[in-house]
Subunit: 511 residues, 2 copies
């Protein structure tokens, strides 16, 4: 059963629907309802006007006790965890299918390790209190700790994945899957390799995972920092403003051009003329033909842009061999906010998702300079990677699940041991002990003398496929009844053949 | 392969030894060597006298850049992660075998949620910096967040497990598996049930997991807060000193009696007479016969102690039915430091481990009052649980592995696609794409024109069982060579039958 769970894709049909058991609907519904209540509690807590008031800093000691999780975070209930395990297993399988090794780094790093890596977003980093030791911060992503790991261990090539929680003091939008604590699943390739070979494989992996998760059609937007830099040059942006103008372009997925232009000109002091030229470029998106067009234009004469366009041409070639070219869209408005990218950048979005949607669900790119920052001799190790924003995936799957009648199981129990008379608790223990020794997943009641109806109801609530039912009568005859919980059929089985009989029935039951 | 990984026990023999490949020894050795270097770096950093100096607090800005992880934490390299995944899978399988659901809670909680739950150990809690929002702390264990979760969601019965990182600003002893960031694997049963039924199952699970992990013989020490309280009463300890004297007794596993007595009398103001009476008790350990003896003595007349002794008697009964009684030792010196325990307490130790060992590797007990603290109406939900300290288990397994010649695999790749001539990169891509679509785990080089020896060396380093080898010659004949990496045998396979041929060979290869 674990095996089938591990292998299960996340199609709706893989959740068992149980219309035959009308009355027993079920704990999973309640759990979702509960989650909604929790989310509302959070929302009201977030709106509480005083919680972020700087005037109250340091005056919290007499605060009333609040029964809640920290702002922007949530608990995961058993149904959500079952969903999560399935998604993680799909992702891990895909990473492993491409030969990746797993590493893990601590949740906090020395503060200085994170300093200067995230541009304008650095203000979102959580710091730990100064309690008399090192100055520490919670990790903001898995990429910077990975680069620190490579430099510290002098590793110059590796194909690695990491799955872990990261932390951002951002404005949470929890109904859209934006949290302050969230999981990232990162796959990265470090090493001196030939152009676009590792880059293409990162995008193949993203496509593979999204296809397996059955989230509907998706699009991989690509662009290149070389093309952006060439574009800025051609548009007359001064060199020292490239980074901040790039940050402004990055906001185009959320804000209209007029707002972005305002930021460029009024906040960041760009000339109106340069901004208008940028506008003309960022409207472009298309396929390989757009690359050819740009190569013919002025921008194609810029060395940095030409290198980027050649890279993307090769990328399209490889994407075609790998059979994922249909998902790719070259989009000149894609910028990615983080400072450390140096080459191709990409972002995966679901098609048909408007502004109200969950935004990008995977993103990444090439960052050839980051490891060098940590290396004592500034030796660089080229890297490229992709990061999956799984909270957004979970939010989509949870919504799908809430709309459907499907009820995923949150326990894996195969057989529940029921007694129909008093004083049989030790007999139930002996049976369970035998089943556990054989590796079967079994439970019995924690009451000495539970009612039989309560025991069977538990089986139906938890979608446990089989129940053993016995009393003094069965014991004296050396038999037990084996019950199919869904159909309520019972067969009498000799005590000595119990394990075999259970295995046989499990093999013929779909759970 | 994932399946076999999931199911694999952690016996040494399950790691493949490769004496047939002398020259290619191997990345895993290097990785262990690297870990040692890292550990030494840590140790020197820890001894750095100024790092904890309060005089330096707030003066860290001009500090030299240090390439290291935070004090008391470590990265996990690919070999360690492979080991970790196996251990986690054994643990998760066991939890699931007993019908547990999984939940997860955030890494940080409101500071007030943790306040007053950990007695003297509260000073070890990590706080987050006050950045103008809520006051937050990193979780110290998974038990308090679980109790908060139950109260917040009004859940009155659940059998749940959680696996997650917890944080303690303790003195790290990393060579003995004591870290500041470490995983706990917790199984807990909440609900109003009959005496000792859930309690016994928690201990059964611990025994099951330790047996599966093949760590050698182990002992489950048990005691009971009711017995300790009765003992303190009988010895003449004033009621208001119970908690602090209990904390002192808890240190007996690390300190000799004389030191503990000193703490009791000199620091905590206990009379010498009372301390001497305690000494007479805490020397006792034994089996059910010791329970009977104590019931006959003065302490057996104390209501609280009698209740505890009756509980343990029943516990022994149930442990016998479950077949784990041989591991149990009733030990009056076992106290457990945390405030929240109210009934049975237990601690699992490996037999033969002296003072230099890793200490207890699992522990827990009953805490019937904790949820009530969080409930608005102070309704209590009885709970009992067990927590596995997996870092200590990893430390033991890593040491075992370093001593043996065994080399666990850190990648799962089944087949590596090699080309023997130039300009075949796109052909390699097409083959990989086909294998991936079929769910096979495949890799190829990120170089356009890799040397064949380099490609085969990679296969041997990473213990990849199969390689596809081809050049123009094979392509023109519509065939490929399939190579067994270990034996170096090659067979020619029609291109059209490739997937089938790989599957067949994988089924006959032990990896």
């Amino acid at each position: 059963m674990l095996t089938s769970l591990v292998r299960a894709n996340l199609s709706k049909s893989s959740f068992r629907t149980r219309t035959d058991l009308g009355v027993w609907r079920s704990s999973s519904r309640k759990l979702f309802a509960m989650q909604e209540v929790t989310a509302k509690m959070h929302d009201s807590a977030i709106k509480e006007p005083k919680s972020g008031d700087p005037a109250r800093v340091g005056k919290k000691k007499d605060e009333k006790f609040m029964l809640k999780t920290a702002k922007g975070t949530r608990d995961q209930n058993p149904v959500q965890m079952a969903l999560r395990e399935r998604v993680f297993n799909v992702i891990k399988e895909s990473f492993a299918r491409h030969g990746a090794e797993q590493i893990d780094t601590p949740v906090f790093e020395l503060k200085q390790t994170l300093t200067g890596k995230y541009g304008e977003d650095s203000k979102l980093i959580y710091d730990l209190a100064d309690q008399g030791g090192e100055m520490l911060s919670l990790r903001y992503d898995l990429t910077v700790p990975f680069a620190r790991y490579l430099a510290m261990n002098k590793i110059t090539n590796i194909k690695r994945y990491s799955i872990g929680k990261v932390y951002r003091r951002d404005n949470p939008a929890m109904t859209r899957g934006r949290y302050r604590e969230f999981y990232q699943c990162d796959f990265d390739i470090a090493g001196q390799y030939d152009p676009m070979l590792p880059d293409a494989e990162c995008v193949v992996i993203a496509c593979e995972i999204l296809s397996k998760l059955n989230l509907g059609e998706f699009r991989v937007k690509i662009n290149h920092r070389g093309i952006l830099n060439g574009m800025f040059k051609v548009c007359g942006v001064p060199d020292e403003k490239f980074k901040e103008i790039c940050s402004a372009v990055d906001k185009l997925d959320k804000s209209p051009w007029e707002e972005v232009k305002k930021e460029m000109c009024e906040v960041k002091g760009l000339s109106e003329e340069a901004a208008d030229k940028i506008e003309a470029f960022v409207k472009f998106n298309g396929g390989p033909e757009l690359i050819e067009q740009l190569l013919e234009q002025d921008i194609g004469k810029n060395e940095s842009a030409k290198k980027g366009l050649d890279d993307l041409k090769l990328f399209y070639d490889y994407a075609t061999e790998y059979g994922v070219e249909k998902h790719i869209l070259f989009d000149l408005s894609l910028a990615r906010g983080l400072d450390y990218y140096t080459g191709i950048i990409y972002e995966v979005q679901l098609v048909g998702e408007g502004e109200e949607g969950v935004g990008s669900i995977a993103a990444g790119g090439r960052y050839d300079g980051l490891v060098g920052i940590f290396d004592a001799k500034k030796r660089s190790t080229p890297c490229v990677g992709i990061s999956l924003g799984v909270e957004r995936i979970f939010t989509l799957l949870e919504n799908q699940l809430a709309e459907s009648k499907a009820q995923p199981r949150s326990v894996q129990t195969e057989v529940f041991v029921c007694s129909v008379q008093k004083d049989l608790v030790k007999e139930r223990m002996r049976i369970c002990a035998e089943l556990w020794r054989e590796g079967l997943k079994a439970e019995h009641s924690f009451k000495n003398n539970p009612k039989i109806l309560v025991q069977l109801q538990y089986c139906e609530d938890k979608q446990i496929p089989l129940a053993i039912v016995f009393g003094e009568n069965e014991l004296s005859q050396g038999v037990l009844k084996l019950r199919n919980v869904a159909t309520r059929e019972e067969v009498v089985v000799p005590r000595a053949n119990l394990v075999e009989a259970i295995r046989e029935r499990l093999a013929n039951t779909t759970v």
